[in-house]
């Protein structure tokens, strides 16, 4: 497992330049350099050179479109307060020395905790920084002479604390992707985004908001609404003057019912309750009818 450290990048430009020393690379190809010299090459040789150049071009174009590496950000879900590990995977068709990307997310839903290399990238050193809320710059690199060979699978993990309410979600979008090979050359890289869903709100018993809307044509008739937070996911138990009513669902956390108060009722007591893993929550409202 590689070491993890954090830093505060001051610019949006690549941080890999701080880490890697670009290697001097002098690619030469005699056959191409010789192409086109006047009077020095027989026609048949020139033709062969032309054909060879075409083959190389076609191969290069094919490589550009069919090849390239892919960075995949994993997905997950959990309850508010939990810490979730997001798997970072790389499908690389060239040897890898370093990787950088900016991960954007909704900072109201998750909070970055830590990260490290893992599995194929167990020896990677991880560096993190933030240029603003919901923007995490991540750099994975190998400090020694080693490299990660061609292949696919997990290279690291990022841990986030889930801070959003129930059903809050965020995408995890990688941008500014930079992948370098052992020669410090940039390698084509694309990214696929992940996501995180908060399946349960903060640990607490259910709480309620009880609202009554009177029919203006008969104010002894009202529609009741019960809004539930940290609910069990099913309709709360509702009684009106000790008589059970069956509320209907308006949406996941909002329920409604109708009540017709008789002429001899001066007040109506609405009582609601619901039970989740933390316990039972109750509330009541007295409605004056006239």
């Amino acid at each position: 497992m590689g070491a993890s450290r954090t830093r505060d990048p001051s610019s949006e430009t690549s941080d890999l330049g701080d880490i890697l020393q670009p290697a001097t690379r002098t690619a030469s190809d005699d056959s191409i350099q010789g192409f086109g010299r006047k009077g020095s090459t027989p026609p048949m040789t020139r033709l062969l050179c032309l054909v060879w150049t075409c083959v190389l071009l076609i191969a290069g174009i094919h490589s550009a479109f069919a090849g390239g590496s892919v960075l995949s950000i994993g997905s997950g879900e959990g309850a508010n307060g939990e810490t979730l590990g997001v798997v970072i995977s790389l499908d690389n068709d060239t040897q890898m020395k370093a990787l950088q990307f900016d991960l954007t997310y909704d900072s109201g839903v998750i909070q970055f905790v830590s990260g490290s290399g893992a599995m194929r990238g167990a020896n990677l050193t991880a560096t993190f920084g933030s240029s603003g809320p919901g923007r995490l710059r991540t750099v994975f690199h190998l400090a020694d002479d080693s490299f990660i060979p061609n292949g696919s699978g997990q290279i690291g993990v990022l841990e986030f604390r889930l801070i959003g309410g129930k059903n809050a979600s965020t995408s995890l979008v990688p941008t500014g992707l930079v992948l370098s090979d052992p020669d410090a050359q940039k390698v084509p890289l694309t990214g696929t985004q992940g996501s995180i869903l908060v399946t349960r709100g903060p640990a607490a018993v259910p709480t309620f908001q009880i609202v009554t809307l009177k029919n203006p044509g008969r104010t002894r008739t009202f529609r009741g609404f019960v809004r539930v937070e940290n609910g069990s996911g099913t309709a709360p138990v509702v009684t009106v003057n000790d008589a059970a009513v069956v509320p209907t669902s308006v949406d996941a956390d909002l329920y409604t019912f109708e009540h017709f108060a008789s002429a001899d009722e001066d007040a109506v007591t609405i009582f609601v309750s619901d039970t989740n893993a933390e316990g039972t929550g109750t509330d009541q409202r007295v409605v004056i009818v006239e």
Binding site: P216, T219, E229
Partner: protein, 215 residues
């Protein structure tokens, strides 16, 4: 003695005759549909819905096509309704008024309230909008406390019943500007109480409008 007896008998007969005449002069029972309907509205305005309903029924016995009596019957049934189905019956009375040639803001407003009570939200909104379009300064002819604000409440509450809280708030804002903005969480405040969601703040405001303006 005979003359005295005869005089007393004549006196008794005269008194009896006078009593009968007096009773005939002061009796006010209506004799036609219009009369029963007028008396029905008088009872309605006084809050005696049972008596009002009896008179509107009597008016329709006299003349089943008397639209104003159907209108009165609709309003009294609305006020007496104790179930969703009773609200539907009230709505039918308003429909009968329409089918007998009456269509005004009083009718649309009453039917809107009945439709709200019977759970027909879209139709309730349509009638409430029609009523305030017909009468921009609407006040119900037989209950001055029921006016334009109630039409906006019907629109608002019908939208809320369908889960359209943005639409509900828009209608309620026509009565009194809530200041609530779905996109601005700092505006989710009602009477000094902050809410964690737009939904919660909107419901609190609708409740407040209901308590202050309904009926």
């Amino acid at each position: 003695m005979k003359s005295i007896f005869a005089s007393l008998s004549i006196l008794v007969l005269l008194l009896a005759s006078g009593c009968v005449e007096r009773e005939r002069v002061f009796r006010t029972d209506p004799t036609d549909a219009a009369g029963f309907t007028d008396r029905g509205w008088t009872s309605f305005t006084a809050g005696d819905l049972t008596a009002a309903h009896a008179d509107f029924v009597a008016a329709l016995v006299e003349d089943p096509t008397y639209a104003e009596a159907h209108l009165g019957q609709g309003w009294t049934l609305l006020g007496l309704a104790l179930s969703t189905s009773a609200m539907t019956v009230a709505g039918s009375s308003f429909d009968s008024a329409v089918s007998n040639g009456l269509d005004n803001a009083d009718l649309r407003a009453g039917r809107a309230a009945a439709l709200l009570g019977s759970g027909e939200s879209a139709a309730a909104i349509a009638d409430a909008v029609s009523a305030r379009t017909t009468a921009p300064n609407f006040v119900f002819s037989h209950r001055s406390s029921f006016g334009l604000a109630d039409l906006f409440l019907i629109e608002s509450f019908a939208a809320a019943a369908e889960g359209d809280l943005e639409g509900a708030l828009a209608a309620a804002d026509r009565i009194s500007d809530s200041g609530i903005d779905a996109q601005n969480s700092s505006s989710w405040v009602v009477d000094g109480t902050g809410y964690s969601s737009f939904e919660g703040a909107t419901l609190a405001f609708l409740h407040k409008m209901s308590e202050e303006h309904a009926g």
